[in-house]
Structure formats: structure tokens, C-alpha cells
Symmetry: C3
Subunit: 139 residues, 3 copies
């Protein structure tokens, strides 16, 4: 429990937000103001977590021994602030595997998503409370 | 033949679309509603396919033995639907190496692309018919 | 010196540009018209350069022996034009680790950036003079 990594599906909430708005033709902008999580669009199946963990472990492996400069170079005060937890890999994973912002078209009052597409938040340094800025633009 | 991976250059068609429009200052939005292909902007040379294959094989290797959870956890009905072909690596590659959507500026009635830039669709689970939503926004 | 890789923080200049504009609610669009550098949003700490180099060396290693097709398949004329320097890895790194364009929200006349977020240009084939197209859109 309290897994630091995980994927949250935002599709339902975002679809509802668009449906309840008056925007018929436009764009939904989702902005993630964080540096160790980010947005992805892909198929939301049960295997996605497992597969991404395996792939990302190959690219930016976990490290609990201050392996990354991000963690090694921290001052004692910074370590205290961050509760001593290393998260150099979280920064690298967010940068390589997610988007800080996404625009999804709105057509005929609905989010234009492909058959298999879900909009998700991929967390690499949680669990934390995260905040997204969401805006609707008319075309 | 029938290579499941490949890169399609969209630059010419998109440039023409902009040129034929009345938009002088604005933005071209290209949205890819799929989960195993995506958009890239880079130099379109003969080596791009080869180089990306090598790099992606290192990150998210092919697997024909249901290696990825995405493939392993499929029900027999799902396997039938997808013609038994594994594509866990295709999802990972699309997520890591492509963008689901891109905005390219339009200035003085033309697409603002750098000297070496081409807009391409990178396919990781083809050959398939793919559909893109393209929109022109005035600035 | 003359390191071909490096990260330039653009946050201060972009914040100032927004502050000096009349845009209260809108979006800042930054477009990078190059193929061997690109944009990232993350935390700007002293370890970022080091960590990204390590991660990217794993994914798309340097090569000075025309390892990548991009470099191997060049004509002598092209080699001369590019001063003989291999940059196949630079193209792969820009594609995998950066964004060609980013939209950052403007709220109450300021750039909406998270507490730890900086907007940076990640260079993989420098040092070179680079040009970005920056536009402010009102919401």
C-alpha cells in the first residue's frame, strides 16, 4: 500500500466536465504543474502499470542510495523537507514518459478521444495530492 | 513487407492544407486518436527508421511470447479480436517516443517549421488505417 | 568547454515577457524549430544535467564511429556541411526526451507554473544558436 507509483484515469471526469459545459467546438487543455508526475494518453488496461514499471526500470532505475545527482547533491535541509526519500528517478521518468500538458479536441460537445484512448495521470513520486489546471477553449 | 513499424511523412499534406486555407496567423493542431502510433517532429532522413528501431528495441523490446502484461492478461476473446498479435511493446513505444497531439504555428500563411523539421506519424502496430484530426486556429 | 549538451533555463525571460504583455488570461506557446534540441519542463537543480546524461546514455548512447544510420548514410558533402560531427544520438535524444512545443497557461497576468517547474531548452547538439517562436494567446 501507499505505492509511490500509479496511474489515475481522468477520462470520466474530463468527459463530464466537457459535457456539462456549453462548448460545442473547441479544445480541452489539461496542465500538470508538477515535476514528478505527468499526463499520458493510452489504453487503460490492467497491464499498463506493470508494463510501464518494467520499461521505466530499464531507462531510469530506482535508487535508494542517492544514486542520482538530484538526490546526492541535496543539502541536509532539503533532505528533511523531502522526508529523506530519493526521487531522482521520478524526475527522469516524468520527463521521459509523460507530458506536462495536453490539448484534446472537443467536437459536437464531446471530447474527441480515440476508441482506446484514456487520459491519465502517471504518478512517479506519490502518493501525493496533485492539482491540474483544466481549461476549455472554444474553437 | 507489411512491416508493422514505419514512419509516414505528413509535412507536404499539412503544408498544403495551410496554404489552401485563409489562415494567415494561427496554429495547426494535429491530434492522433490512437494508442499504438503517434506524432513526431524531427528530420526525415533515410536513417530515421533504422535508428528509432534500434533505440526503441533497447527501451521496449518486441515480444511474441506475451511478455508484456498487456498481452499476457488478455482474454481469449480479446486475443481473437486483435488477431493474436502481441502489441504491448507498441503501446510502450507510442507512449515514450511520440506525441498524441502537436501544435505548429502558422505565420504569414505558412506552417512555421524549422529547416530540418518534418511532421511524421510513427506507426508501431501496423500496417493499419489511421485517422488524424487536423484543425486550423486563427491566432 | 563548448559542451555539446546542456540545459538553458528560459523561465525568467518567459515570465517577464508575460508580465510585460497585456494578457491576463491566456496561454503562452513556445515552439522549437529544431531537431536536435527541445523543450522540457521540470525542476532546475544542479543535478539535472548529470542525471539526464546518464539516463540518455543508456537509451541513445553517443557514437563517434557513424554508428547511427543518420550518420553512416551521410554523403561526403553532408559530412562536410555538418563539420563531420556525428549527431544521430542527438536526434534520438531530442525525440525521446523533449517536446517540440509547449503551452503554459497564463492566469491573472502571470505564467501558471508549479512550485518546482522551470521551462528549459535541452540541447543535444550544441553549442549552437537556437531560435524559439514564442506567442501569447488570450483565452
Amino acid at each position: 500500500m501507499d505505492d509511490p507509483e500509479g496511474i489515475t484515469d481522468l477520462t470520466g471526469e474530463l468527459k463530464q466536465l466537457v459535457a456539462e459545459s456549453a462548448v460545442a467546438e473547441g479544445t480541452l487543455h489539461v496542465y500538470c504543474g508538477h515535476t514528478t508526475c505527468g499526463l499520458i494518453i493510452n489504453e487503460r488496461d490492467t497491464g499498463l502499470d506493470t508494463d510501464m514499471r518494467e520499461v521505466l526500470e530499464r531507462i531510469a532505475p530506482h535508487s535508494d542510495n542517492h544514486h542520482y545527482s538530484h538526490d546526492k547533491d541535496r543539502t541536509p535541509a532539503e533532505r528533511l523537507l523531502h522526508a529523506e526519500r530519493d526521487n531522482g528517478h521520478s524526475h527522469a521518468r516524468a520527463m521521459l514518459a509523460t507530458h506536462p500538458e495536453l490539448h484534446i479536441p472537443i467536437t459536437a460537445g464531446n471530447l474527441y478521444l480515440g476508441q482506446w484512448q484514456a487520459i491519465m495521470l502517471a504518478e512517479y513520486d506519490g502518493p501525493r495530492t496533485r492539482e491540474l489546471l483544466v481549461r476549455l477553449h472554444t474553437a
